[in-house]
């Protein structure tokens, strides 16, 4: 470490590399490949004496960050406009008398930028001192502590003691400004990021500044509440603990959390998220940068999908006589043996078997099911395939992120079920006609109201064999002869295919509830025990399944198929938020 620890910026840790990997677009994000722009688009500038090439129109701050030069900032955000209100990003531009806000200054050819001179560092420290003058001593009770930009910048750059003797200005604390959000105006450093998120991302003006000088404070616009469907993004962009999420506050401290990159299962958009988990539970989902999917944002509904991981779980295998009668709890091994016996019995007798590809399940399981279907058809059995999922909500669709299709993997289910697959209505009418003798559902979701399910009940009860792999318990699951416990998306390694046909990795974060196994493992167990499919690569591990499925759906003519850019990615070490540098 350098001689002068006091003024040296903290070394960029190697873990940042791992995190960058997490932050990088997940598998399939094709737009991530950087295309070198034409030379005429580039300008050459000097940053701290080093010549770098950047695109015309970038601002100085971005140019510095792209080239690994650390410039502190509060109000700048890559997804928002730059108002230059915080003055934390001041740098020296040779030839200009005053320091300039780097987030507001576009690069010009031959510009010389200095970010580490004594003058710049002093300006940075003075800005921090100003910001801290009225900041309450709240860290021990503040939800942001540990992932707070103000803490991080003070720790990186300042480390000077306080010089003030007078009382701090008091402002409203614990102001309830929306259904999901609490405001603490004292902690606010007036960066205006949240105002811009509402204006520029959600497209509604719900937040604003009131008063002037050191009395200035953040407030909701008159007669408004912060209730847009993207409101929780304000909590993510808040560099301090002024805006906190009602759902997450006072649960776990930031430094107790681990982060795992994954994909939101809430709708077909497939927003990239980080799962924050600790003590064996998932506590929140936060958006992860992917410029070709969700940029830096996600919707409020998506954030709450984590609650399904621990509610109404079907966590132990049961076998019984179906029809909603009490079933016997058994081991998964025994239940799959029973399922295999019943299914192969029905197939041997020549009964039609229905295979349900659920759009909530991951690609690997659906691929496994398609392999089983292919083997059965080759052996002469009558197989019908259906793609089902949760009910669509056209009213929630908007042009920002929210999609009407509430399933994360509809495209994947369609690919693996094949062209001849029916939809949920086909399943309903086939059941009504009594066309199926056996039904094997990978996933329990159906897009029907309760009334329809009641109407379907007699035809389900008439099935000779009804096997369901269920994540959640429901009356439908209880009608099955074999009720197998399946993992949620947060408990497995696999992939989802979103509405744009991008294959994105999901990763295991917490251990499964009870006896639950992944859909893929359950499909594989039944396939092995029925002796329909044995010893194939996909049955070994999710990664092998992924490799096999990407090869299998590749068109023979060499053109780019639906999974052309699919990539499993590499294994990630566990990342603790506390050692991953504060983000804000």
């Amino acid at each position: 470490m350098s001689q002068d620890l006091r003024n040296a910026p903290t070394t960029k840790p190697a873990i940042a590399e791992a995190l960058r990997d997490i932050a990088a677009p997940a598998a399939g994000a094709t737009a991530a490949t950087p295309v070198a722009p034409a030379p005429s688009d580039m300008v050459t500038i000097k940053v701290d004496g080093r010549e770098v090439q950047v695109k015309k129109g970038t601002n100085v701050l971005e140019a510095c960050l792209q080239n690994g030069v650390d410039v502190s900032y509060f109000c700048y955000h890559p997804g928002l406009s730059s108002p230059a209100v915080c003055r934390q990003c001041l740098v020296e531009v040779v030839g200009q008398p005053k320091l300039v806000p780097s987030c507001y200054t576009p690069v010009a050819d031959k510009m010389e930028v200095v970010t580490n001179s004594a003058r710049v560092v002093q300006a940075r420290q003075q800005m921090l001192e100003f910001t801290l003058v009225n900041h309450p001593v709240d860290c021990p009770i503040c939800d942001k502590a540990g992932e707070c930009t103000l803490q991080k910048l003070y720790d990186d750059w300042d480390h000077k003691g306080s010089r003030t003797e007078f009382d701090k200005v008091h402002k409203p604390k614990m102001a309830d400004i929306g259904p999901h959000i609490v405001l603490d105006a004292e902690r606010c450093i007036l960066c205006s990021r949240c105002i811009r998120v509402c204006d520029e991302v959600a497209g509604v003006h719900q937040l604003g500044m009131a008063w002037r000088g050191d009395r200035e404070q953040l407030t909701v616009a008159p007669g408004q509440r912060l209730d847009n469907p993207y409101s929780l993004n304000t909590v993510d962009v808040c560099p301090v603990g002024a805006l906190t999420s009602k759902d997450f506050r006072f649960t776990l401290r930031a430094w107790e959390l681990y982060t795992v990159p994954s994909v939101c299962p809430g709708c077909a958009t497939g927003c990239n998220v980080e799962i924050h988990h600790g003590q064996g539970e998932v506590w929140r989902l936060v958006p992860r940068e992917n410029l070709s999917v969700n940029k830096y944002w996600m919707c409020d509904d998506g954030r709450f999908t984590y609650k399904e991981i621990r509610s109404r779980r079907h966590s132990g295998a049961r076998i019984g006589s179906g029809r909603g009668l009490p079933a016997q709890a058994v081991s998964v091994d025994k239940a799959t043996s029973f399922a295999a016996e019943r299914l192969s019995g029905t197939v041997q007798k020549g009964g039609t078997i229905g295979l349900v590809f659920n759009a909530q399940a991951e690609n690997e399981a659906l691929f496994g099911l398609s392999q089983v279907a292919a083997k059965l058809e080759a052996a002469g059995a009558t197989v019908r395939r259906y793609v089902v999922g949760r009910k669509s909500h056209p009213e929630r669709a908007d042009k920002i992120l929210r999609h009407a299709d509430m399933n994360p993997n509809t495209r994947g289910a369609q690919v693996f079920a094949g062209a001849g697959a029916g939809d949920a209505d086909a399943l309903r009418s086939d059941l009504g006609k009594g066309a199926l003798k056996a039904l094997w559902m990978v996933g329990e979701d159906l897009p029907f109201d309760d009334a329809v399910l009641v109407e379907l009940a007699p035809s389900l009860d008439a099935l000779e064999t009804f096997v369901v792999q269920a994540v959640h318990d429901s009356p439908l699951v209880r009608r099955a002869h074999v009720q197998l416990p399946a993992c949620t998306w947060a408990e497995v390694d696999g992939s989802f295919t979103n509405a744009k046909s991008m294959v994105q990795r999901i990763r295991c974060s917490v251990s499964p509830a009870g006896d639950a196994r992944s859909h893929m493992e359950l499909v594989s167990m039944i396939a092995k025990k029925t002796r329909w499919v044995e010893g194939e690569a996909w049955q070994k591990s999710p990664r092998q399944a992924f490799l096999q499925l990407t090869a299998a759906v590749q068109p023979q003519d060499g053109s780019a198929g639906p999974f052309a850019s699919a990539d499993w990615g590499r294994e990630l070490p566990p990342v603790q938020l506390r050692f991953a540098n504060s983000r804000g």
Binding site: T11, L132, H135, V137, P140, Q151, Y154, G161, R578
Partner: protein, 429 residues
């Protein structure tokens, strides 16, 4: 077999045993049998441990014995495994100190110092530690070495039937621990050392109290030597038992008093001086035969040398700060932490994110109670070790225990094991 009081037949030295190996029978016994034929024996497997009253660590030895002679031995450790290395990967560097206390728990401060020096080596501040802090580290380290050796040699007497030396030595150890308790706030798990120095300055009357205690310890050691050094039972059970040559000891990775008992004068404090050890006048005692008695004698003499170092350190210790004055490494004063946001953040980041250490790797080694105590740290630039490996001296010593006890009597296992001085916390980590 009976442990406890040795029968006259057992009180024979290794050489004498040769002469008396043929069984002695009362007159007239088995006159019609062939007296000269040895009694037919067959190997028997017995299980010693994991909880055996005569073993002071939790360890299991599966013995194959032929009569009283050990034919095969499989030493199984791990009963005290606490995932030190795994836990350390999930804790800040400062949070690792309490874990190191529990490695060699009879000399916790030596482990504290060893770990702090590894972190400082990786941080590149080894030469910036204030002198007073370095002297304090020497003082507490040498006190810990004495407590370590007191426990070991005290127990060695007890294991062959002499209970009094154990009580006297434990009494000395208690005086030293009382002193450390006053200094660090804890009798055993001190967690006193920090990166960049130590947690608090010496107490006011520390020097005088230490000198008093050392004087009393010297007396006790003389008393103990009077009791056991010329004691026939003790010498016969220790002399010539579990001999190892210098070459073998090096090949098996021995360090510390056990290695020095074979005549190899390797002591990290002399060969690679760290802290301020190059400023003291002290000797490295070595043995000549590498048997249990040598290991006992080396430890007795090392305690005397440690006392010499302590007295010199007390004379030389300068005034000054006891930790590095750097806001990234040392915590701000509590008055600032509770009353200003600046102090609060400084404290907070250091506690939560830890002291950030630049990416790299370092192996730092010190002379622990049982030998070279090494810490191999790999940092990825964050506030916690990416990998923290301990070179635990007694883990490496333990792997050669089968070699020492095969061919010896069952009763010899206990003093041999005692003189290897396996400390479960360090061996199993």
């Amino acid at each position: 077999m009976v442990f406890g009081m040795p029968t006259p037949d057992e009180i024979v030295s290794g050489a004498a045993r040769e002469l008396r190996s043929r069984p002695q029978f009362p007159p007239g016994f088995g006159e019609d049998a062939d007296d000269d034929a040895p009694l037919p024996t067959e190997p028997m497997t017995i299980n010693m441990g994991p909880s055996h009253p005569a073993m002071h660590g939790t360890v299991r030895i599966i013995l194959t014995v032929d009569g009283e002679t050990v034919k095969e031995a499989d030493v199984q450790v791990g009963y005290l495994h606490r995932c030190f290395e795994k836990e350390a990967e999930y804790a800040t560097y400062t949070q690792v100190f309490p874990y190191t206390d529990r490695l060699n728990y009879v000399s916790p401060l030596l482990n504290n110092v060893g770990f702090a020096m590894a972190a400082e080596k990786l941080l590149g501040i080894s030469d910036k530690i204030p002198e007073r802090a370095q002297y304090i580290r020497v003082l507490i380290g040498e006190i810990s070495r004495i407590t370590d050796h007191l426990t070991c040699v005290g127990a060695s007497g007890m294991e062959v039937g002499a209970f009094t030396p154990f009580l006297w030595m434990i009494k000395c150890r208690e005086w030293l621990w009382e002193l450390l308790e006053e200094l660090t706030g804890a009798r055993l798990t001190h967690s006193y050392v920090r990166i960049g120095g130590v947690a608090a300055d010496l107490t006011d009357n520390f020097a005088q109290r230490l000198r008093d205690v050392l004087a009393k310890c010297r007396e006790a050691m003389v008393d103990v030597e009077k009791l056991i050094v010329k004691n026939r039972i003790f010498r016969d059970r220790m002399d010539g038992v579990a001999v190892i040559s210098a070459e073998e000891a090096v090949a098996y990775g021995w360090t510390g008093p056990c290695l020095r008992s074979t005549g190899v004068p390797y002591d990290v404090r002399k060969d690679h001086p760290y802290l301020v050890y190059d400023r003291f006048d002290f000797d490295v005692p070595v043995g000549s035969t590498g048997d249990n008695y040598d290991r006992f004698a080396v430890r007795m003499e090392e305690m005397r040398q440690s006392m010499r170092i302590l007295e010199q350190a007390l004379d030389q210790i300068p005034a000054g700060p006891f930790k590095l004055d750097d806001p990234r490494i040392s915590l701000p004063p509590k008055s600032q932490v509770y009353n200003t946001i600046e102090g609060m953040i400084g404290h907070f980041k250091q506690i939560v994110d830890g002291v950030k250490i630049p990416p790299g790797e370092a192996y730092s080694y010190t002379e622990g109670g049982n030998g070279e105590l090494g810490f191999y740290l790999v940092s990825d630039g964050t506030g916690r070790p990416y990998r923290c490996h301990v070179r635990a001296p007694c883990f490496i010593l333990m792997q050669s225990v089968p070699k020492l006890i095969i061919g010896a009597g069952v009763a010899d296992i206990i003093p041999t094991f005692g003189m290897i001085n396996m400390i479960g916390g360090e061996c199993d980590r």
